[in-house]
Amino acid sequence: MLLYTLKRLGLALLVAAFVSVVAFMLLRLSGDAALAIAGEGARDEDIELVRQTYGLDRPLIIQYVDWLLTTLSGDFGQSLYFKTDVASLIADKLPVTFLIGSFSLLFALALSVPLGVLAAVFSGTWVDRAALAIAVAGQALPNFFFALVLIMLFSITLRWLPVSGSDSWAHFVMPTIALGYYVTPPMMRLVRAGMIEVLSSDYIRTARAKGLSSFSVVFKHGLRNALVPVVALAAVQLGFLLGGSIVIETIFALDGLGYLAYQSITHKDFPVTQAVLLLLSLIYVLLTLVADLLNAFLDPRMRVA
């Protein structure tokens, strides 16, 4: 277990380093940063001055190392558009995105676990078919379209929920649904497959033979084991949700990282884009690391690196 942990940790660190290079290169090579800072139509000597002030005339490797060292010390630079430092900007927005990501994950779990269990228990019947139909239909629905349908229904027609903003709990209801439904189908399939496998295993037969009620067999003995892979998938999906929230946050003007990323991209505010990209990638790396270790801890067969 220790060797496996060390190996996975090393891989995670390597990936993180690689991602930092990509994040740096992507936005440094994609356009003249000095021009972006000086603004369109700036004079040549002004652009040159900016280049020298920001150290953009140095070799790329030196710039990268410099950038990495300052970033590691917690200094993400200054935002060109918001005119504040990037670190505090991100610290400001992260909680909203984290909230919406966690809510969506809980929403998806609350939907996929019962549906998956039902589909497995009634495998092959209309219940199973209906659950699968929901999964297939859900995966085909574009999330931004679904979000607009929700707004039309709950904000405009029924007037139950606010359209945009992030001031109250009510503002999080629609974004949670719009973001969470999309990860429900894969999780439901996993719960269903796991439950079908578990329910046909020997210890479940034993439990049934002992005369335990089917409720107790399904939930106490079955679900506990079927949920192991779901926990790992949930960790990975949370990373996916944080990255995918950019569309949903923009639609609902939720003041989180995704909306910040969108604004920074449209305003060519590259220090912010870079920081968000790096942060989301690192969170994903961390979550997959946790998921892998969790899996290995729960199921010793997985500990082959």
Binding site: L11, L14, V15, A16, F18, V19, V22, L26, L27, S30, G31, D128, R129, A130, L132, A133, V136, A137, Q139, A140, L141, P142, N143, F144, F145, L148, V149, I151, M152, I156, R189, L190, R192, A193, F240, L242, G243, G244, I246, V247, T250, A261, Y262, I265, T266, K268, T273, V276, L277, L280, S281, L282, Y284, V285, T288
Partner: protein, 297 residues
């Protein structure tokens, strides 16, 4: 639509018989084929089917509602948008963009991912370590964010969106091809070909690729659907295909300001997108069952 949704699950696919026979017997393959076939036909026949030029504006006829509305008129069966362009014609031509994106992105990312997966799975060892690392690193980066940033910097256009998504979305191809190749590389026919002196390239393309092809087809279908949804999302955010092209995602974005009074402007392209992706996903799901009936999940 409700029929098509119910279809995938009634898959009582016979486990014997040829793959073709099983495909015809699989309701989700048939349902998916019909949906996708309809969109392909619409895309090919758009100039014949469209009642108007999809780009022709008529400011005297803006935001005409569709025909089922009491104010609808037959000359514009699905109404007009805020610039007075015929919505049906734009919808029909929009099918071309979605299909082109799905197909082109699938080909580019499929080529990259399959090559990486085959090489990693076949050679193993250090090669596998390096490629697995590249896959892991790629997976760590959020696709939507990177795609948005790249398109924003280079400038949005159809080729840029296709290339960006194609260069980003090869991960699932690589993951699936790698493990599929690992499963067949030590089988007898591969060893036999190697013993007979076949070159590595020949073993890869002649022995391994044909045997992992079913997996490739399934991933390719699912990825085409996901690429179509991604393009729509990028265009919706204004950082994908640019106006006046009738991309379905862009049509939804342009209609957003009018959604309070003209929600059909959003509902029509949104439903078209959902139906196309539903068809593609049904095909993928059905094919997975056909190729591996015992591995159904």
């Amino acid at each position: 639509m409700s029929d098509a949704v119910i279809l995938p699950v009634e898959t009582v696919v016979p486990r014997t018989g040829s793959a073709t026979a099983r495909m015809v017997a699989s309701p989700s393959v048939v349902g998916g084929f019909i949906l996708v076939g309809a969109v392909v036909a619409i895309a090919l026949l758009a100039p014949l089917l469209a009642p108007h030029d999809p780009y022709a504006q008529d400011l005297t006829r803006r935001l005409v509602p569709p025909i089922w509305h009491e104010k609808g008129i037959w000359s514009n069966p699905l109404g007009t948008d805020n610039l007075g362009r015929d919505y049906l014609s734009r919808l029909l031509y929009g099918a071309r963009i979605s299909l082109l994106i799905g197909l082109a992105v699938m080909l580019i990312s499929g080529l990259i991912g399959t090559t990486l997966g085959l090489v990693a799975g076949y050679f193993g060892g250090r090669t596998d370590l390096v490629i697995s690392f590249i896959i892991t690193a790629r997976l760590a980066m959020p696709v939507v964010l990177v795609a948005l940033a790249v398109v924003a910097v280079i400038g949005g256009s159809l080729p840029v969106v296709i290339l960006t998504l194609g260069l980003l979305k090869w991960d699932r191809f690589a993951v699936v091809m790698r493990s599929a190749t690992q499963q067949v590389r030590s089988l007898d026919y591969v060893t036999a070909a190697e013993a007979a002196g076949a070159s590595r390239l020949r073993v890869l393309l002649g022995e391994i690729l044909p045997n992992v092809f079913p997996h490739l087809i399934v991933v390719a279908t699912v990825e085409a659907g996901s690429a179509i949804l991604l393009e729509a999302a990028l265009s919706f955010l204004g950082l994908g295909v640019q106006p006046p092209l009738p991309s379905w995602g862009l049509m939804i974005a342009e209609a957003k300001n009018f959604m309070f009074f003209s929600f059909w402007l959003i509902a029509i392209p949104g439903t078209a997108l959902a139906l196309l992706v539903l068809g593609i996903n049904l095909l993928g799901d059905g094919l997975r069952d056909v190729f591996a009936p015992e591995g159904r999940a």
